[in-house]
């Protein structure tokens, strides 16, 4: 399900030095450059938040530990059986 959100205009303050540098390159669509950088950064933050939520989920931690131990024992049993 997708949700349509209207575009919004956002104003940024940049250092004078940067503004001068940008002015030297009028061929660049600076608005698009900012937009792409913001999208990338916002998505990275969103992913990090989602990963953190999963990592802090105690159910996941507890079940991972139990599964890892059980599967590890199963694996070692198979290895030992082949070596015997």
């Amino acid at each position: 399900m997708s949700r349509s959100v209207a575009s919004a205009k956002v104003t940024f303050e940049v250092p004078g030095e940067l503004r001068e540098l940008m002015a030297k390159h009028p061929e660049v669509n600076w608005s698009a450059v900012f937009r792409e950088a913001l999208i990338r950064h916002a998505r990275t933050l969103d992913i990090a938040k989602q990963i953190l939520e999963e990592e802090e989920d105690l159910r996941i931690a507890k079940m991972t530990d139990r599964l890892k131990r059980g599967a590890g024992a199963r694996y070692r049993k198979a290895v030992d059986a082949r070596r015997a």
Partner: protein, 136 residues
């Protein structure tokens, strides 16, 4: 690109089927591999794991089935790699980590996807917390 999942990733997908990890497993640019012993362990102790996941056994079974749609790494395929130095190195960290490295070698995987901090630190080029996008 081939990627082996460890227990931490499989569990995250099972407990949060609409979460980020589960969504990643739908990526078509990756061949996902799961050691069969992981899923066998889950199914042999279905009720116990369902209790931990806070879902009914039938719900957990359905979720496990969706993981079975990925590529399986059987014990037989891992067998030639039991004594590989990289597998032994993993075993010195934690004997329960060794099979994932054997699985990586068995399928010549590019990455091991894990949340295990020790594996991430010990194998920094192989073990990843986030699977990178495939090169176009």
């Amino acid at each position: 690109m081939r990627v082996v999942l460890d227990a931490s990733v499989a569990v995250a997908a099972l407990i949060r089927p609409r979460g980020w990890t589960a969504a990643q497993l739908a990526r078509s640019d990756v061949e996902w591999y799961i050691p069969t012993f992981l899923l066998d362990e889950l199914e042999d102790h279905l009720r116990e794991f369902a209790g931990m996941a806070d879902v009914s056994p039938s719900t957990l079974r359905l979720r496990i089935e969706s993981l079975r749609s990925k590529r399986m790494v059987t014990d037989e395929r891992m067998k030639p790699h039991h004594d590989d130095p990289i597998v032994r190195q993993a075993a010195t960290i934690d004997p329960d980590d060794a099979p994932y490295l054997a699985a990586v070698l068995a399928v010549r995987a590019d990455y091991l996807w894990t949340r295990d901090k020790e594996l991430l630190a010990a194998f920094p080029t192989l073990a990843v917390r986030v699977v990178p996008l495939s090169a176009p």
